[in-house]
C-alpha cells in the first residue's frame, strides 16, 4: 500500500518547476517570495548530485545575484587563471583580490533549496515527469514515483530540467541541442594531486590535449580538484579517452585518487530563439543558457531562472498564460544576457579555427586585455587595427581568420 505523505496532488498549483538545479531553485525562490504556490519536481535521488559541472562561480555573479559566499559551499577562493598553450608554455593571470570561488555544489544547491522552502516552496525528489498535457488552460503532469504514478496540475510550468529536458518538448517547444553546438564533457573529482596553484583555474589547450576544447583543473582545496575536459562532439575518440590520456601524462596526478566521476553534454552555442509556449517558460541548461567560451552555466542559469520567474509572476498577475503573454521573456533574457553570450559565441567560433601554432603564437604575442576583449567581442576598431597591423601581420593565416571575425556583424 502506498502511503500518501502529502496533499500535493489534489490542488492546482500556480507554478510547477521541473528540475531542482540552480535555475529551478532560483526561480522557485522568486516565486515563493511573491507568495505564489510553487512545487519543484526533480527526477534525481539527491539535489546537486551527480554534478555535471566544474563548479566555478565568479564574483560578478555573486554581486549580480546578491549571493554571499558561505564557507560550507564556497570551498576555494580563486584569484585568476593560468592558461597553458600546446607547446607547454603558460600565461598566468593572478589578481591580489578574490575573483570567484569553486563551489561544493551539493551543499550550495541544498542551501538554495532550504531557502526556497523557508519562503514557501515545496520540493519533491525522485519524481520523474513522464508526460505533460494541456487541458482547458491547465497543464497536467503524469509523474513516475518509484513504481507509482502521480498526477499534478498547474497553470505554469518552468522547465529547468537540464540538457536532458523533455518537459518543454512534451509541451511543444523544441529544445533539442544540435550536435555542433554541444560539447562532450567528462570529469574526475580528484584528491591527492599536486603541482598547481590552488588559487588559480588551470586551462590546458591543444588539439592533442582536447580537440575543440580544453582540459581544466578547478581546485577545491587541500589537493582536491575537479579535473575535467570538454571537447567537440564530432571527435572520433571520447572525452574520457582524452582526459585519461592527459592525466596519465601529468606528474602531479600520479598519486591522485578519484573521488567522483562526472559527465555531461554542454550546450555551448545553440541559443534558443524561442523560450516559451502556452503555460511554459524554459531556463538553465534546458534553455541552452551556457557561456559559449568557458562552458560555465551556474550564474547564467540562476539569472535565467529569476527572469523566468519574473515573467511567470507577470502572467499570474494578468491571469494570462498564453505564449503571446510569455514571449516577452525571450526578449528580456536576450537583452539582459543572451546578446552578450551571442558575442562570446563569435569568439568561440574564432577559437575553434585556430591551429596549435596560432595558439602558441597568440599566447606569446597578445596581451591578456586583448585576449579578454576578443573573447567578449568588445574590441574597438582601434584595437582591431593595432592587433592586425602590429601583431597578426606576421602570421597571415591567423590574420585572415581574425579579419573574418572582425568583419562578422551577425548578432
Amino acid at each position: 500500500m502506498v502511503i500518501k505523505m502529502f496533499d500535493a496532488e489534489n490542488k492546482i498549483w500556480d507554478v510547477i518547476i521541473v528540475g531542482a538545479g540552480p535555475s529551478g531553485l532560483a526561480a522557485a525562490t522568486e516565486i515563493a517570495k511573491a507568495k505564489v504556490s510553487v512545487l519543484v519536481l526533480d527526477r534525481k535521488q539527491e539535489i546537486g548530485c551527480p554534478k555535471r559541472c566544474a563548479e566555478g562561480l565568479g564574483n560578478g555573479w555573486f554581486n549580480r545575484l546578491k549571493l554571499k559566499p558561505k564557507k560550507e559551499w564556497a570551498v576555494q577562493e580563486i584569484k585568476g587563471a593560468q592558461l597553458y598553450s600546446p607547446n607547454g608554455k603558460s600565461v598566468k593571470m593572478k589578481n591580489k583580490k578574490v575573483l570567484g570561488y569553486v563551489l561544493e555544489r551539493k551543499m550550495f544547491e541544498k542551501d538554495l533549496a532550504i531557502n526556497a522552502v523557508k519562503l514557501g516552496a515545496k520540493i519533491l525528489m525522485k519524481h520523474q515527469v513522464i508526460n505533460a498535457t494541456r487541458e482547458n488552460g491547465i497543464v497536467k503532469l503524469e509523474v513516475e514515483v518509484n513504481d507509482d504514478k502521480k498526477y499534478y496540475q498547474t497553470k505554469m510550468i518552468i522547465a529547468c530540467d537540464g540538457i536532458d529536458s523533455k518537459v518543454a518538448r512534451m509541451l511543444g517547444l523544441n529544445t533539442k541541442n544540435n550536435l555542433k553546438d554541444t560539447d562532450s564533457g567528462y570529469q574526475y573529482e580528484m584528491t591527492g594531486i599536486s603541482g598547481y596553484d590552488e588559487n588559480l583555474l588551470h586551462l590546458f589547450f591543444g588539439t592533442d590535449v582536447a580537440p575543440r576544447g580544453y582540459v581544466w583543473i578547478f581546485p577545491k582545496r587541500d589537493g582536491t580538484a575537479n579535473v575535467g575536459i570538454g571537447i567537440g562532439a564530432y571527435e572520433e575518440k571520447t572525452a574520457k579517452y582524452y582526459l585519461d590520456k592527459w592525466i596519465a601524462s601529468q606528474e602531479g596526478m600520479k598519486n591522485g585518487s578519484i573521488i567522483e566521476v562526472n559527465a555531461g553534454g554542454i550546450p555551448v552555442g545553440g541559443f534558443l530563439d524561442k523560450m516559451t509556449a502556452d503555460n511554459l517558460v524554459v531556463a538553465g541548461d534546458a534553455g541552452h543558457m551556457v557561456d559559449p567560451i568557458h562552458g560555465g552555466g551556474i550564474g547564467i542559469a540562476m539569472e535565467g531562472g529569476r527572469i523566468a520567474a519574473k515573467h511567470t509572476l507577470l502572467a499570474i498577475k494578468k491571469n494570462n498564460f498564453s505564449d503571446t503573454q510569455l514571449s516577452a521573456y525571450t526578449k528580456d533574457w536576450f537583452d539582459s544576457r543572451g546578446k552578450e553570450l551571442m558575442r562570446r559565441l563569435k569568439g568561440r567560433h574564432l577559437l575553434e579555427q585556430l591551429s596549435d601554432g596560432d595558439f602558441n603564437y597568440l599566447a606569446e604575442s597578445i596581451t591578456i586585455d586583448e585576449a579578454l576583449k576578443i573573447g567578449n567581442g568588445t574590441l574597438t576598431p582601434k584595437d582591431k587595427l593595432i592587433l592586425a597591423t602590429k601583431k597578426l601581420i606576421k602570421r597571415p593565416g591567423l590574420l585572415n581568420i581574425m579579419v573574418k571575425y572582425f568583419n562578422d556583424k551577425t548578432e
Binding site: 529536458s165 523533455k166 533539442k176 541541442n177 550536435l179 562532450s184 559527465a263 553534454g265
Partner: protein
C-alpha cells in the same frame, strides 16, 4: 539497427537525450530508456557520449 546503452559505462548524464532528434531516449534516475520505434540510428548520441556508452547495434564500435 537501433542504438543500445551500455549500463556498465553509462554515467547517466543525459547528453544523449539532449541531442536526440526524435526524443527516443529518456533518462531515468539511473537508467537510460530507448524507444526502439523512435530511434532512427542517426548516431548523434554515440558522438556526444563522453564515455562511449552508446553503440549502434550491428556496427563495430
Amino acid at each position: 539497427m537501433v542504438v543500445k546503452n551500455n549500463p556498465n559505462k553509462c554515467l547517466y548524464c543525459g547528453a544523449c537525450v539532449g541531442v536526440c532528434p526524435t526524443q527516443a531516449i529518456t533518462l531515468k534516475d539511473t537508467r537510460i530508456e530507448i524507444d526502439e520505434n523512435k530511434c532512427i540510428s542517426c548516431g548523434a548520441c554515440v558522438k556526444i557520449c563522453p564515455v562511449g556508452a552508446m553503440k549502434i547495434e550491428g556496427k563495430k564500435q
